[in-house]
Amino acid sequence: MAERDIREIVIVGGGTAGWMAAAALSRLRANGVTSVTLVESEEIGIVGVGEATIPPICTFNAMLGLDEREILRATQATYKLGIEFVDWGRPGEAYLHPFGAFGVDMEAIRFHQFWLKYHPLGLAAPLAEYNVTAVAAKLNRFTHPNPDPRTVLGSLKYAFHFDAALYARLLREYATARGVKRREGKIVDVRLRGEDGFIEAVVLEGGTHIPGDLFIDCSGFRGLLIEETLHAGYEDWSHWLPCDRALAVASAGVEPLTPYTRATARDAGWQWRIPLQHRMGNGYVYCSRYVSDDEAAATLLEHLEGEPLAQPRPLKFVTGRRRKVWSRNCVALGLAAGFLEPLESTGIHLIQSGIARLLSLFPDRDCNEVEIAEYNRLTDRQIEHIRDFLILHYKLTQRADAPFWRWCAGMEVPESLRRRTDLFRRCGRVVRHEDELFAEDSWIALMLGQNLTPERYDPLVDTVPRERAVTVLSRMRELVRKTAESLPAHGDFVARHGAAPGPS
């Protein structure tokens, strides 16, 4: 069958998506047939999506065999235990969306159901106090999880904050050391094959042809191959997620080093705060219908904790997805495949899961429709689940202080999301789907964090005697608190495990 094997993979674009793909696909070279070329142009800047990640990034790094200390050192990384959402429900309120689970179920009844009963009675503490990841985050502490899942620290999960451009550089070194060819140049033309419309080659300025059997479009929003050449189409979701611009700026770092991202609601969107070793990443994601660029820049700068290190950098986008992320012999990754604002740090994850899917469904030269169908089905499902999760942050606002938020509270949401909120509002139940990125605890953190209080708790909770339930609750809380307090400070942990070399 070797005569049908993919010989040449051409990756177009050298941003985070491009180099992540190159690093992972370099593994195929060991079959003796496949080679990988990445084309990038120094002239075209990279967007460097999201500097915050979510726990599956650890799987990706492990698959590549990257050492965590090396990542910390090379990318100015810090650890991340979750995201703090400030002013999303009502102004003045904050909640954490931690990685890791809330409490432990009792008699096959979900933990949060007990909390729903006993918290209003004053017999349970705030929800976050039953989650070791959340308590550690609040205390600015960090350690690695315990491999034994039965322990308290077994439920801890983490990810990283890093400089995405440095991460891309690290992966570029990794990929080129493993035989990925890098071509510098600007693509001026794309050649299609007559008989089936497959991409045959990309043409660089100066006329060089780079032929390939499979093309990975990592060219960013424009979608040089997937859209400008193959016209896959784009599904616009801005009627649900209306933010369409962002301003990004780095500022001087501040102590202490927090092991979480912060997302603060502003008048026409929200502001991110991502702590790195050497600086703070900041940005304002906003809706241009409700605020001018100048006002947005002023808001962003006004809320920085340290001195800005540059002028804010503008970005424009339309939230939505590519209709067919894999079309003919072209697979789009990263921004070329769709855009979701970085509210839940899903940018890099979408790239990584696209790569994993591509590897498990890797095609022959003829790109069988069977694998394309499954790739696109899974991609669609995943991005729709994440979309619903993001929309709910906006929909569940109780802010009446700004027209943008009033609009969000009143919007129509997708049917799939309405079913979830109906079910939760009734009795605190959470819908689960196969392979869903955000697990039950994430939905619970969001819905309770933004005051979607169920009408009642699960009636089965009443079958567990009050005294027993309350005792177990207080023991859990005590164990979580003691465990979290025993952990090292996040800043110390980073310094010990992977301090990046200082500026020379």
Binding site: M1, I6, R27, L28, A30, N31, M63, E107, A108, L359, S360, L361, F362, P363, D364, N368, V370, E371, A373, E374, R419, D422, L423, R425, R426, C427, R429, V431, H433, E434, D435, E455, R456, D458, P459, L460, D462, T463, V464
Partner: protein, 485 residues
Amino acid sequence: MVAAALAVACGGRSAIHIVLPPADTAVSPKRSDAESTLPPLRAFNKLVGLDEDRLLRSCAGTFKLGTEFVGWREGRSYIQPCGEFGATLGGIAFHQHLTRLHAAAAAVDPELYCLAAAAARAERFARPGIDPSSVESTMSYALHLDARAYCGELRQLAQRHRVVVAQGALRDVAVAGAAIEALILEDGGRVTADLYVDASGSEARLIGQALGVPFEDWSAWLPCSRQVAARCEQPHLGAPLTRAQAADFGWMGHVPLQGSIACHYAYDPAMLDDRAAGEALLAWIDAPAPAALTYNSAPSGRRRAPWQANCVALGSAAGWVEPLESTALHLTQSMIVRLLGLFPSGDGRVERLEYNRLVGNELERARDLAIAHYATAQRLGGEFWRQRAAAGVPDTLAYKMSQYRSRGTLVIYDEEPLPEVAWLALYLGQGIWPQRCAALAEVPDMEAVRAQLTRMRATIDEAVARMPAHAEYVRRQRLQARLDG
């Protein structure tokens, strides 16, 4: 089953009445019936407080490491195991490596890399340990139980939890508007409730007959709606397996219990009459003097809305799939767990919608797996099998099979009742190989993979050798029980 679960779950806060018709009506299990269960039932038993050792004694229980499918490919048999095939190597699923070796013309027998299947073939059994790094942890198990005795255990348990039994046939159901108002018993007594659970089997006395919720019939794909069963003595206990053997007009099931074997023939009543079916079953049974034959009908299909107004249907009142995959009790259990998870308060509108969506999906997934057995059957002749081959498959199943056939992709939808391995065992057992393995599986050195496979086999062989014979293990359990008390 539902009474026991609800009683335990409600902890005496709600009053539960169960209307039990006199013995030997369609609903209650017959003397001949046995339950071939799936591993999750053990968790259910634990949750409601039914001790497994006690069940093994009172229900003539034996262990189950899988189902042996015989003759679905002419002259061959394969095991669908309660456990995994092989181990993931280098982040690549085991069956992808097997596919690669198969394509390289190597003779590969998947069962040699599956502890549950290898132990079952050797007629050996021991409960697996819990150490996740041990080879034993790749195996799970289920139980074979006498259906009547198990039902009795559940009934006792329910009564201990103060479920009120109203003995007597159901004469009528009073309906007000679209909801049930009361159940009227043969003696004129009335039972009223906030929630009615219809566990009346395929008759669906409440959800179907009283409320008129339509039934979606799947018999075009799954026509074996009639079943004849017999129990015969068998002092020798063999493999810890249920057997499902393809027959001329359907398939025959074989469930080993302590001292006896429960057999049945599920057949297409349009092609075979009851008498001939009974004779065929008796001819098949390789044991002396079987007990009387009992007959039963249960068409495959599902209730359009298994929860309507104040009535929740469970078990075959909600839907039924030919029990090729031992899903009978499993689907009931799953519906109970879903009902408990969505236990209503108030009008229950939101819970109802979700229950119907989940239960509907799960029944369809169970349907697809059962149909897959017929769709992949390779038998030489007979009108029944010709019709099966011509019947086609639902789109959801066609998609799944096309994914596997191409590059070995195992598609898992929401609410699948059985794990991925059930599908894999079916494909491999029927000799269906992907056209090609996943590209990543072609990367590692083939000799290194062979060496790892050889080590895997050796580990499994050693683990099997450490296990006692199934019969011996069951005997020791009985002995232990006697010593204990």
